[in-house]
């Protein structure tokens, strides 16, 4: 893929210089980013004025409120808008230098990517699209951009951050703008927000940064993208207001995520604490721990114009005023969706994995403990496969492998312990005696954390694993049959893993060539056969998907949700728990077709009933007991 260079990126630790130099002089350094592609930056008030005076907003105000009084819109804009000031960037730079040097051993940044980014900012408006794994993500890009003398991005942030006293204002002055969560059908809000975003993109004075996944992935697995912001940033291109846009996927990964246990508890139903300044201060103790390295990989800028070539007609706006409010056409929606998925895929491919991700994968398959030497051996074996599948590993070449693995694991002593040559998952301490349920709960947190780290690496294996599973369910070796089963899995897991819509054949191809790389299959014109030597690989890859399949594997009669065994619960970690409940909605696959064979993937269709939704698990709904009660999910458009 041209968008993705496989050449080894050159990572540089930006904290190294911070440890040697003074944070003050870093904060006060001459900051003069090269001018972007657009006009010089307008002042925040000038920008707001442009938005308020826009024809689009006037149309909407008139339509929604029946008069042309713009006061309401102005208030919304005041709540929303950023107020980027270099002084605050400096202040923040100082504070972050202090914090980051304490938290992390290293912040590794690929300088080649930054060079490409700098080039891109001078040509076209740039959209920075990082993945979102931790609160720390939020300002790290701004910090890096400041360090490298690049324009500070304007960042889309959730409104809870604004509510934090002082911190909210600091964020605002560091370039954050705030978006309400449940906008729903508030037309005026939509109009103000979209016009605001589009105006920033059009003027091109600063990169726009937003999380295409919409929210922090609680499971560290990529989330299927949310389309609201995506449409807003793409529109200026589709309407010809800018020549091109560069989408820059940014992959942020952590050896250890700050809020790992918070996330696990959230998944177990403990409500997320509200973002408050006080909470932040209280959380200071997290600063006292070691979080290893953070990797930030700036991917190749993706030209939207290139993406759009032959896929979408830009003439669609020729017959209506471009400012007219209206839903994006189906064509635009499909295009935006494909583009967003593609970016998430590129984020995944750019992600640098820690050795621990691989170890975690193996630990999970042996929840009852395993011998360290076996675990180490298998991790090395897995490393081989991962590398063949194109994974990017942070595996220091100059250290003995055993040391790499053990130190990587040592960082996670809150999850696993190694005692007397055996590796165990940690159980949370608590008062005795425990009920069975409490016991599960205590173990679950470690399992979930472990699963999350495994999830970081999952994208490497998904496609080959799906081919492997498909091969196992097909009598014979016909590629065509395998492909059919593969497509079934792809549709089934459409909300579980990220697949670019319409790229089924490419995904299959990627899976097959991955397996061939590992020597696990031999392909002829029409057949795909497992090789004898690497049978283990096929079995192992299939096993990776097993828990996911089991999760979806709900058999039963009538309207009872069936089994949800303890084991299942423990190995249960799909990112967005689908609410699985007896419901009158009969399950059909996306695309509306039924599995190719009744036994495929052990799914006993058509007796499966469950409803799909894109909504996040509701706190409390993940208990070992079956879920119940309908939850009407409104998918957040952001």
């Amino acid at each position: 893929m041209q968008e993705f260079s496989m050449t080894k990126p050159s990572f540089v630790d930006i904290l190294e210089e911070r440890r040697r130099g003074s944070d003050i002089s870093h904060a006060l350094r001459a900051f003069s980013p090269p001018p972007g592609c657009g006009a010089p930056p307008p002042s925040p008030s000038a920008l707001n004025k442009m938005v308020l005076e826009s024809q689009h907003l006037r149309y909407v105000v008139l339509e929604v409120r029946g008069h042309s009084e713009g006061g309401e819109a102005a208030a919304l804009l005041d709540e929303m808008s950023q107020n980027l000031q270099v002084t605050f960037i400096r202040l923040l730079g100082f504070a972050l230098s202090k914090i980051f040097t304490r938290l992390f051993r290293r912040i590794q940044v690929n300088e080649d990517g930054l060079a490409r980014l700098q080039q891109a900012t001078q040509e076209h408006p740039v959209i920075l699209m990082p993945n979102h794994r931790s609160y720390v993500d939020f300002l790290v890009l701004s910090y890096i951009m400041f360090t490298y003398d690049l324009s500070i991005p304007v960042i889309a942030a959730g409104i809870p951050l604004m509510g934090m006293s002082l911190i909210g204002e600091i964020f605002r002055r560091s370039g954050a703008f705030f978006i309400r969560r449940a906008i729903g059908s508030d037309k005026l809000y939509w109009a103000v927000l979209s016009e605001y975003v589009r105006t920033i993109v059009r003027t091109g004075f600063a990169p726009v940064e937003f999380y295409v996944e919409g929210l922090r992935s609680r499971t560290l697995k990529s989330l299927t993208p949310k389309m609201g912001m995506m449409h807003m940033v793409l529109e200026p291109f589709l309407k010809g207001e800018v020549y091109d846009l560069s989408l820059v996927p940014v992959s942020i990964s952590y050896d250890r995520v700050l809020e790992e246990s918070l996330l696990a508890h959230e998944l177990l139903g403990v409500p997320k604490p509200r973002e408050t300044t006080r909470g932040l201060l209280k959380a200071r103790r997290v600063l006292e721990q070691d979080y290893g390295s953070m990797h930030v990989y700036f991917g190749n800028p993706v030209s939207v114009r290139e993406l759009a070539k032959g896929r979408i007609g830009r003439g669609q706006y020729n017959l209506v005023p471009r400012d007219l409010p209206g839903r994006p056409s189906e064509e635009s929606q499909a295009f935006a969706s494909a583009a967003a998925h593609r970016v998430v895929r590129l984020q995944e491919r750019g992600t640098v994995l820690s050795p621990w991700s691989l170890t975690a994968l193996l630990v999970l398959q042996r929840p009852d403990g395993t011998r360290w030497d076996l675990l180490a051996r298998d991790t090395l074996w897995l490393r081989g496969i991962a590398l063949q599948l194109g994974a990017r590993l942070d595996w220091p070449a100059d250290l003995p492998d055993l040391e790499v693995m053990s130190s990587s694991m040592a960082l996670h002593r809150s999850v696993v312990r190694c005692e007397e040559g055996c590796v165990w998952l940690v159980e949370e301490a608590g008062p005795e005696p425990v009920t069975q349920e409490e016991g599960v709960f205590r173990r679950a947190s470690a399992v979930l954390m472990c699963a999350s780290y495994r999830n970081q690496a999952l994208h490497v294996f998904t496609r080959p694993a799906m081919v492997a599973v498909a091969m196992g369910t097909v009598p014979g070796h016909s590629q065509e049959d395998i492909y059919r089963h593969f497509c079934f899995l792809r549709d089934l897991f459409a909300n579980e893993f990220v697949f670019v819509p319409g790229c089924g054949p490419q995904d299959f191809e990627e899976g097959c060539s991955g397996l061939q790389q590992c020597g696990a299959v031999s392909a002829t014109d029409h057949e795909l056969k497992p090789t004898e030597e690497e049978r283990d690989t096929i079995v192992f890859l299939s096993a990776i998907l097993e828990p996911f399949i089991e999760t979806y594997q709900v058999t039963g009669d009538n309207c009872t949700l069936l089994y949800f065994s303890l084991r299942n619960c423990l190995s249960f970690f799909p990112s967005h728990f689908r609410e699985i409940f007896p419901n009158s909605t009969r399950y059909t696959l996306p695309g509306g077709y039924l599995p190719p064979t009744p036994t495929c993937c052990k799914l006993q269709c058509p007796n499966i009933y469950f409803r799909q939704s894109h909504c996040r698990i509701h706190p409390g709904s993940c208990s070992p007991t079956p879920l119940c009660g309908p939850q009407v999910a409104t998918s957040s458009p952001i």
């Binding site: 010809g240 020549y243 830009r314 003439g315 706006y317 005023p321 400012d323």
Partner: protein
């Protein structure tokens, strides 16, 4: 402009056979390397242009060392022998219509002025040419010719001034019949002037400058001044829906025409009266205007005339950037106070204009120029690489012109515009006439280029200009053009609901294996970009064969079908077989 006689049946004697315009007028770099424009016909003629060389070399990355001279003379033996239908030729002779199959005359009428047409001629490549040229003297001659053509199934291609830039005059390669070029140049008389109704009745072969000059002698003008008016014909204007630079006062060709007579294979089409407006179904004039020679030959036209304006004044305005300039033009259009002509050149064209400044005769003028430059760039803070200039032409009685001028300058001031003098304005318009000659100079030094145009709603003007220019630059780069191309535009007409935009595009083709192909692809992509940005397929150049592929998209399938059914009725045997438009 000095008069001449292309009304001669042998225009090739005074005009270039492989380039633009008069043989005696051309740009060249003299022995000292200075730019020079030869001849005596234009204001610029005989002048030295000291900055042309530097601009030329810097803009295209060329060197005067590397020349690509044209084949000096037409190799007559390379011209394919004529495919004549003897009885047709015989009957023409009997009817008294002049005809010739002299190769030079046939080659001369085998092309318009698209880049690829001229490029091929310069290399001495001759493609399909007409087999015979006929010169009707009047309407009745045309009727006879068309009758005979129908009788002998001969393909007729009307030829007016030969200034087409849409491949409209190219003989279709698939045409196997005898192709006859019907040259209207001998039908060039003004038949009457009606001073009561202010109309003139003219034979359609008359050339623009002759019509205007002869009317001026009687104290009138049509006011129709397309950039090609030195060479283009009235019939050609009608057949392509031409637009004149002063359309703000006089209107475009469709506003000027009162009555048209056209000879078709079905017979003669015309209206029965000269009423100024009618409600008699769809206006049949609109089948004729823009038909590009596919339906018949326009033989006579009645058009509006106006008394010569008492006073003319040029003007110019400098804007800090193109965006401000466009906003100003938009406001002028909103207030409907556009002068006879108002054009906005972008920065590249502004600099180009400067490169064509003749040698300054006195130290004082050069001092004054320096002072102006200082005032604009230093005192007013205009960025020399962003500023752009609008040129203006006012017409009318003196008092009104001055009043009008003030109104326009006041609007301009609101958009940061500064009045920049009459001289700059006048030079801007003069450039229009000589720019076509410049392409020939470029082609002597590895530079090829072309212009193309569109019309677009006001709110998209800026976006379209930026995107198309950028697209050209990117496409050139992608296709291996070594040096960034010259990619520039100007807004040349304002309307209530939009504007006409004109692009120039040229590049240095050294190192390219197939420069023409590269050129054509880039132009194609530029047109795609125009359409994607809400621009039209053409504002006034027409479709010809060059832009046919987009016609369905441009007018819808039903629209195309309508036009086809008209063609089907009027000319079922495709006698007018130039295959333009449809």
């Amino acid at each position: 402009i000095t008069s001449h006689h292309i009304t001669d049946s042998k225009p090739q004697d005074i005009m270039k056979w492989n380039g633009w315009g008069y043989s005696d007028s051309r740009f060249l770099f003299n022995k000292k390397g200075q730019g020079e424009f030869t001849g005596k016909r234009y204001r610029l003629s005989g002048m030295i242009l000291p900055s042309l060389k530097d601009w030329f070399e810097a803009t295209f990355g060329t060197s005067l060392q590397h020349k690509t001279p044209a084949t000096p003379t037409l190799n007559v033996s390379a011209v394919p022998p004529p495919n004549l239908v003897e009885p047709f030729v015989e009957e023409l002779k009997v009817a008294g219509v002049a005809a010739s199959h002299d190769p030079e005359g046939r080659v001369f009428r085998s092309h318009g002025h698209c880049l690829h047409e001229i490029f091929a001629l310069r290399e001495g490549r001759i493609g399909r040419v007409p087999d015979l040229v006929v010169w009707p003297n009047c309407h009745n001659d045309v009727v006879k010719i068309v009758e005979l053509a129908c009788k002998y199934n001969v393909c007729l291609m009307p030829y007016g001034g030969g200034t087409s830039v849409s491949s409209a005059l190219e003989c279709p390669l698939e045409e196997t019949r005898s192709v006859v070029s019907l040259d209207t140049s001998q039908m060039n008389r003004i038949l009457w002037i009606d001073e009561k109704n202010l109309t003139v009745h003219v034979e359609a072969g008359i050339i623009g400058q002759d019509l205007e000059r002869q009317l001026n002698e009687s104290g009138y003008c049509t006011g129709h001044e397309p950039d090609s008016m030195e060479f283009s014909s009235l019939g050609g204007w009608v057949a392509t829906r031409a637009s004149g630079m002063k359309k703000n006062i006089y209107g475009n060709i469709e506003d000027l025409v009162v009555h048209i007579k056209m000879v078709t294979p079905r017979g003669v089409i015309e209206k029965s009266c000269q009423g100024p407006r009618m409600s008699t179904g769809p206006d049949i004039h609109h089948f004729i205007m823009g038909s590009e020679g596919t339906l018949g030959v326009v033989t006579e036209v009645t058009m509006k005339i106006r008394p010569l304006p008492e006073y003319q004044k040029y003007g110019s305005i400098v804007f800090p950037n193109f965006q401000q300039g466009v906003s100003c033009l938009r406001e002028v259009a909103r207030q409907r106070c556009a002068p006879a002509s108002i054009r906005l050149m972008d920065n590249e064209q502004f600099q180009f204009g400067h490169a064509l400044k003749p040698q300054v005769s006195s130290i004082f003028t050069s001092f004054l120029d320096g002072l102006k430059k200082f005032y604009i760039t230093k005192f007013k803070g205009f960025e020399p690489h962003h500023l752009c200039v609008a040129t203006l032409l006012f017409e009318g009685d003196r008092e009104k012109v001055l009043q009008h001028e003030k109104q326009v300058y006041d609007i301009a001031a609101k958009f940061g515009g500064l009045a920049a003098g009459e001289d700059n304005g006048q030079r801007g318009y003069m450039l229009t006439f000589v720019i076509a000659y410049l392409r020939d100079l470029g082609m002597d030094y590895y530079v090829i280029g072309e212009s193309f145009e569109t019309s677009v709603p006001w709110d998209r003007v800026l976006d379209l200009c930026r995107n198309v220019k950028e697209r050209i630059v990117r496409e050139c780069k992608e296709r291996g053009v070594q040096f960034p191309p010259f990619s520039t535009c100007r807004v040349t007409q304002t309307y209530d609901a939009g504007a006409c935009v004109y692009f120039y595009f040229a590049f240095n083709y050294r190192g390219l294996a197939d420069p023409l192909h590269v050129y054509e692809r880039v132009e194609h992509e530029a047109r795609e970009e125009i359409l994607a940005n809400g621009g039209s397929l053409s504002h006034h150049h027409g479709v010809g064969k060059l832009r046919k592929e987009w016609m369905r998209e441009a007018v819808s399938t039903v629209g195309l079908g309508m036009l086809q059914s008209v063609k089907e009725y009027v000319d079922p045997n495709n006698i007018f077989g130039n295959r333009n438009l449809l």
